[in-house]
């Protein structure tokens, strides 16, 4: 299927509300969507969801011959797949610019930053090393694939364990998981990528969704848009920058990058903590011989897709979950609802009509007379 194009109305609307300090889903500019990590039954397999963006990541290993120039180091291979499951516009088994871009970013973040101890993956120098294959599969594309994919990659590497081996003269015996406990991968530091959407060269949106991402990189009616773009920053828990990538925008001050770095450092640290906790919790459960399986992610949450819970356009001070609990009473008893602070006021003007006006004082109930009413 062809790519769905972005309408001018959408572009203008998003640009306008962002410049006024709002986001379509009611988040603040530096607020991320809900992060959820769930592990599968095998080591190194996880599904990470960031809002509605969902990515499946799996690490597998096999014995391979090392590269000639690095005879004592293991090999890491990263592969990203985008098939029609992610969104209908993607074609199966075809490399697109987006997949190449994602693979390159992840390689920069995890291979070039030297966070994985490659020497520990060596079995016999110049003959046998472990080759790790990280397979990233996008299940649902709702923007910010980079951030979600990088969390998925890190979580699955941290969760992964390779089989143990013993050397007996020239022979190498690789033990199955039941014979000997598998060994976790050694990580020197934990780098994570974060994405910022750049709007009119001075506004940074943390964790942009699909619409925000496509609006900031698309052209405006006036011509080519050089003020918007995507800024990807990879940092580890020690606030060290591992990767910096900018697409789309032509930045004319470095202040915006400094601002992004400060906010990225805190965010990455938070993510690393979440990932470490999730892996530790999973390890605990496994030691207690509890069964962990992807069937645990099935909930009834999405069954309510067409009711209000999955509403993706939200008013800023409108908490859907809060209202959901008193669903029944809400319709019968309107007094229960807390009046939400609004910037606008409904004012009666000419008979039978009311108008939205900028708020001046406290909101009050108004009465709009109606001829067909009680009189």
């Amino acid at each position: 299927m062809r790519d769905t194009c972005l309408s001018n109305c959408e572009k203008n609307f998003i640009q306008k509300i962002v410049s006024q300090g709002h986001r379509l889903d009611g988040r603040n500019f530096n607020e991320t969507r809900k992060l959820d990590i769930s592990f599968g039954s095998e080591y190194g397999c996880c599904i990470v969801s960031l809002g509605e963006t969902k990515i499946l990541s799996e690490v597998t290993c096999e014995v391979a011959q090392p590269k000639q120039i690095r005879p004592n180091e293991g090999i890491i291979f990263i592969n990203v797949e985008l098939n029609p499951m992610a969104a209908p516009q993607f074609e199966a088994n075809r490399q697109t610019d987006l997949t190449v871009y994602l693979v390159r970013l992840l390689e920069k973040c995890y291979k070039d930053s030297k966070c994985i101890d490659l020497e520990s993956l060596c079995i016999v120098v110049e003959e046998k090393v472990w080759s790790l294959r990280i397979n990233i599969k996008v299940l649902n594309h709702d923007g910010n694939l980079t951030e979600c994919a990088s969390i998925a990659t890190l979580a699955s590497i941290a969760h992964f364990r390779r089989p143990d081996f013993t050397r007996d003269g020239d022979r190498v015996i690789i033990h199955t998981l039941t014979e000997k406990d598998p060994i976790p991968t050694v990580l020197y530091h934990y780098p994570v990528c974060t994405t910022f959407a750049l709007y009119s060269n001075d506004i940074l949106l943390t964790d942009p969704n699909f619409l925000e991402e496509s609006v900031c990189t698309s052209n405006t009616e006036e011509g080519i848009n050089t003020a918007g773009g995507l800024l990807v920053l990879g940092m580890n828990q020690y606030r060290e920058v591992c990767l910096l990538d900018l697409t789309g925008a032509a930045i004319y001050t470095s202040n915006i990058v400094h601002k992004a770095l400060l906010s990225a450092a805190d965010k990455c640290k938070k993510y690393v903590e979440i990932i470490k906790n999730a892996v530790a919790k999973d390890d605990n459960l496994r030691q207690k011989r509890e069964k962990i399986n992807f069937s645990d992610i099935i909930t009834t949450e999405h069954m309510l897709a067409l009711s209000r819970k999955d509403l993706n356009i939200q008013l800023k001070h409108y908490d859907v979950t809060e209202l959901d609990e008193k669903d029944e009473e809400m319709f019968s008893d309107e007094d229960d609802i807390k009046p939400e602070p609004s910037k606008y006021d409904v004012v009666a003007t000419v008979p039978n009509t009311a108008e939205l006006k900028s708020k001046e004082g406290k909101s009050e109930w108004i009465e709009v007379s109606s001829d067909s009413g009680e009189d």
């Binding site: 299927m1 039954s41 397999c45 499951m85």
Partner: protein, 221 residues
């Protein structure tokens, strides 16, 4: 060999769990677990496809199967074919000429009976997407152990010692067999017994469909 109706009451399948609209970008999607086996299916369509693959009398069905490690294999192509032929029998393709319907399947966990789980999940995803269908279908897997006994909906451990596995797919109208996939050696009697037991057990799957759709419709209605 026809099984008694008394036995039918005792039939048990592994517990099933399902969630609709797991993916927000697809027209229809479902994630289904049968015991420890989990599969995820997304359906997109009817949608615009390139001229060469358009057909003037009906919609073109494309099925893509990928297993967890992401490496393409002949086995995957074979599974795609089974799902495609089963779905083509069920979908009213003539209502959507010159369009395409994409079914994408992702393996999440395979602990036995994966093909049956995938087929059931595909049916649920098709129901969720709103594509018109002639009938729904239910798949049930069976195994024959080394003594020649038929095991319904085998577990992972049971499959290790079995000599043959079979997957049957039935339609919802008159419970006729639409797809059969077998692997290994078995006797004719074992096949007939497995067929009849699966046919009766497919009632449980249809009941599960009805149950989940009833819940879902309650929510949207």
């Amino acid at each position: 060999m026809v099984t008694d109706m008394k036995d039918v009451q005792d039939f048990k399948l592994k517990p099933m769990k399902c969630e609709f609209n797991f993916l927000s970008k697809s027209d229809g999607s479902a994630i289904l677990s049968q015991g420890d086996t989990v599969s995820l299916v997304s359906v997109n369509g009817p949608l615009d496809i390139k001229m060469t693959s358009q057909r003037i009398d009906k919609s073109t069905l494309e099925v893509l199967f990928s297993n967890k490690n992401g490496k393409p294999s002949v086995e995957n192509r074979y599974k795609e074919n089974i799902v495609k032929q089963t779905c083509e029998a069920a979908i009213l393709g003539s209502l959507y000429p010159r369009t395409g319907i994409n079914v994408t399947i992702q393996e999440l966990e395979d602990y036995g009976g994966f093909l049956a789980c995938t087929l059931n999940c595909t049916c649920l995803a098709l129901l969720n997407s709103g594509v018109s269908m002639r009938n729904v279908f239910a798949a049930v897997s069976c195994a024959v152990d080394n003594q020649g006994n038929v095991i319904l909906d085998p577990t992972h451990a049971q499959l290790q010692t079995s000599t043959a596995t079979m997957t049957f797919v039935f339609d919802s109208r008159d419970k006729s067999l639409i797809t059969c996939f077998t692997d290994g050696c078995f006797s004719q009697d074992a096949y007939r017994e497995a067929l009849e037991r699966s046919r009766s057990a497919s009632d449980l799957v249809f009941a599960f469909y009805r149950d989940i759709i009833r819940k879902y419709c309650n929510v949207i209605g």
